[in-house]
Symmetry: D2
Subunit: 337 residues, 4 copies
């Protein structure tokens, strides 16, 4: 059994990671860290009933993690992961943004802090299995992609790879869990309910992440406009993506390209109808649909994921499965809740 730990196990993502890992047949949970709830009962706080896991949240401490785990998942806020990872000597899967860029300069530009272990960046892999499965195999440091980036990249990658478009407009909408449990006025019920809004317009950090991942994979630049929106729901992301179409491919061509790209992917579902958020919530699936606007030729891709699962926790487990040679679908197939 692989002994795994979770740092930040009391947050949305960390708790979901625990829920998923708990069912994994090759894994035992050996460490659950939380700075906010050190010493609290895990089952009490999570309103759960887990057995054979640590009874209390421990403080987040690198030595302790190195000693007690074979692998650690970091479900911590951006900029809090890299100082900790500096002292981590075991393999890690980081769910923050701290290792998503492949160089420290770009990270510093977008996150405003100096990276504390740029050397570790060099050996990290960007953990989007559909693009980087081979590199993930055996990797010791995996940067789990952002939720928006996952939904957009999976939708556009097949077309960019074929050289069929160069300009991308991605309009995404997410439930509130994407913002975590922060106590902010804008996240109060009376502000979110019966409302909808764009935020971080033309300034969201996920857009450079998307471009960097595509460039890292294909060696080619792509220009993405990205506007995220806040939905009055708990979970899920839907991205509606508009691609230029200089080669004037039609809907059948576009659908065929998606099928070719993803035909062997266990977690990419291609439907005949546009996906809804309810189609994917509770699963590790990415559901993607494509059509072409006959009127003006634009390729329109619609891509849906559960931001807490394929956009975070279960994708991290998918990465672990690949890295360690487990069955890729172990613990993350079907309904996860």
């Amino acid at each position: 059994m692989l002994k795994v730990g979770i740092c930040g196990a009391s947050g949305f993502t960390g708790a979901m990671l625990l829920r998923v890992l708990y069912k994994h047949k090759s894994v035992s949970i050996s460490y659950l860290g939380s700075n906010s709830y050190t010493g609290s009962s895990v089952n009490a706080l999570l309103n759960a009933n887990y057995k054979n896991i640590p009874i209390y949240f421990e403080s987040i401490d690198a030595d302790c993690i190195n000693r007690s785990c074979d692998l650690v998942f970091l479900a911590m806020p951006h900029t809090k992961s890299h100082p900790l990872l500096k002292d981590i000597t075991i393999p890690a899967i980081d769910l923050s943004a701290d290792f998503r860029f492949n160089n420290a300069q770009t990270y510093q530009k977008w996150y405003g802090t100096v990276h504390s272990c740029p050397d570790k960046i060099e050996s990290r892999v960007y953990g989007l299995p559909e693009l980087f499965r081979e590199k993930i195999t055996g990797s010791k440091l995996i940067a789990n992609p952002g939720c928006y980036a996952t939904s957009v990249i999976l939708g556009i990658y097949p077309f960019i790879r074929k050289g069929l478009c160069s300009s991308v407009i991605a309009d995404s909408a997410s439930g509130v869990s994407g913002a975590g449990k922060a106590l902010k006025t804008e996240l109060l019920f009376y502000r979110v309910d019966e409302n909808y809004k764009a935020y971080n317009v033309a300034s969201h950090r996920h857009q450079p992440e998307m471009e960097a991942a595509i460039e890292e994979r294909l060696g080619q630049k792509v220009s993405i406009s990205f506007v995220p929106h806040l939905l009055p729901i708990q979970r899920g992301i839907l991205s509606t993506i508009y691609l230029d179409n200089p080669n004037k491919i039609n809907k059948d061509d576009a659908t065929q390209i998606l099928h070719e790209q993803y035909k062997n992917e266990p977690f990419v579902k291609l439907g005949d109808n546009p996906p809804q958020i309810s189609d994917v919530v509770g699963t590790n699936n990415s559901q993607i649909y494509v059509t072409v606007d006959k009127h003006n030729g634009k390729i329109i891709v619609i891509s849906a994921i559960d931001n807490l699962l394929k956009g975070a926790a279960s994708q991290a487990v998918q990465n672990m499965n690949i890295a360690y040679g487990f069955d890729e679908t172990e613990a993350i197939n079907g309904w996860l809740g």
Copy 2:
């Protein structure tokens, strides 16, 4: 007092029209028609307390309307308005799509039925005050714009008019009232709540309406990609619009263009921050924001309206106010609920 009637007064839009017109100081309500509720008590059905209005819904009958009203508002389903209007001899404001196109062929193409009074189309005006105020003055037949079209056209018109863009991508999201009160599985609570989806992708009838209205006003073609989405809320539309920017104008330029265009408009609000749906629900306001994505130069416009008010009922009253020379803001200023 102008005697006004409403056909379809029991639906979302018709009931909202009654609520707005009821407060109008130059108007009396002389006729309320409903095929579904002929003979029912108006106050009972609408859970209201109106005085000096017709007590019962009447059947929808052209003769009766012609006799009892000076002006009639038609809040009926698409394709049900034109056969009725054929026999209407008094001025009318039609809230359906039946007179939004300026020729019968285009109408037939998108709505699948032969128009029964193409001659009336010729003299109709497209009732978007910010574009056609002069023509609306004194008009006898006003086609009230669609809700999606209102939100998108107001956002893009200033830029197209200045020749600053030619390609438009409009990503819109609407509350369920846009779909009326139809008894459809996809509108059940368990399907809409905690969900979000695109619908009518690349095939919505509002896109040609948008293009036709711009062309009618400016004599120039524009290409619009449009994808509507269904939000789990009652009311409101938010459109996030992406414009190409060949002249590379910056955010200040873009903001200045909006201000110039709308500085005298009583119902267009320009904010320093992106509008939220909650900013406009309950009002006749259109709130618009513009920025430029520094990264790739796209102009991004965000435009919000209440689909039942500026997108339907109160815009119809604004049109009446203009047509009859009343104060344009009478009965529709401030909070309408």
Copy 3:
């Protein structure tokens, strides 16, 4: 024109008061106070378009209020009203709980602070028009009832007055606006959405308020069990109330008693079916239904109000209308939004 002021005009209730008073034909708005937003633009903060009202929120100061107003509405938190009212020399309508009890001891017991002007309590009237209309007429200090108390008292009063019951169980559910705009974890969207809970079980301050008001009116004690619940909605209260029925009256009797009591009340609506929250939101109406459980004889009353209107703002205006001899329905009839 009566010059009125509002203290706490930036909160849910204060903003609603302004909306209602703004339409009142015998009133002018001469003062808007807010400690949180002193100096801010009223229209900007409230996203509104009011004319002929103070442009900026002023600080909350008794001298200023006494000078600039003929009447002041206090829409402030509990325990903040009585120290201010101590120095107010003009008539006042207090929407907090500070003057709802008719003696300082009971107030101190439930609100934990010494009352600063017990002398003023003696002359105050409890502003529930359906019970105390005569005393309200000409009153200089009106304690506006709580929202829960309004919904429950109106439902049970006719039966208690007739001596038909002595034991009351009131199970109420309210939207989040009842809790104001406080930044609390339990009011975050992710906590409220898709959830429902009881709170302050058997310890809510509204229960003694209900009993005291009944006793003040009828000189007789009644025992009320009260449990409030939090609904995942913005506005509205529904109270389901269970009464013992020693005289074994039947449904017709019970309905007749309601009709007799309220037949001349402009804002009490008696329906043939149980009211829903959506029936009353946006109005000053209290909608009440009664039936008798044939199985075991309990009288079951269901009572719905809008907590921000009949439960707060518009009931305060109803009180003003009565106190000053205006038409009781002025500005609060029909749809208020």
Copy 4:
């Protein structure tokens, strides 16, 4: 492996049963029946990814069920179960109301149809494990309790059993899934969202079910007033229950009684705070809290369950586990989603 079938596998409850049974290590799914979707792909319709289950929904046919299963779950509408069960020769767990009463007359009174197999009623057991575990062991026909009944009975049973109360008022609120997927106007999003209402006031069929189950277990009558309400959420029931308290027990006594009763129950959770619906959704848990209103002595019990799980699907599996001697918590422990 026990071969199990599900009739009505495409509904809310049937689909949830499949989800739960699929994880059960001693069970294989050998039959999935649906009259509405006969011939449709199970995975496609349920948007799922099940392996080693029937590929298509079959028609609902007793012979086929008898041949292919060792045990069948009936997740069908009330009045549709008993005609089918007449011809079923294998053990069955019925999730409808058709076998909840222990005599055909009471059933006919409340459900309006003659029972087609009254003989089978005699040997059936009411499948509430916390009351009837011993009878459930080895039973061939189990009537799975209603969701409202489960939440109320578990809350009151310990007190009635001790003779501490005789009069019960149960005020319950449920999410929309309790009403199934029926296409009804009152279940449209625009009717349910931002609303709350009582329904079937003093006439709901679950009240006699509660009384009958208590009487069947204790041989003593109890009088229950019951009013159900509809919440604008998907899942969950919260019951707030008011008990008379002639012996004047206090909160500590009451809490002690709950603990004694349920200390060995794997799925009854007793908390120090009132439960919320979000505490139990996704689990087979019943969470119960008790307090005593010091003011008037009433015992107040608050009880929450997930209506689709402990109120239906997972309780049915709990019953199977008991009947067949499996570990009672198999497949239903912890998070079910």
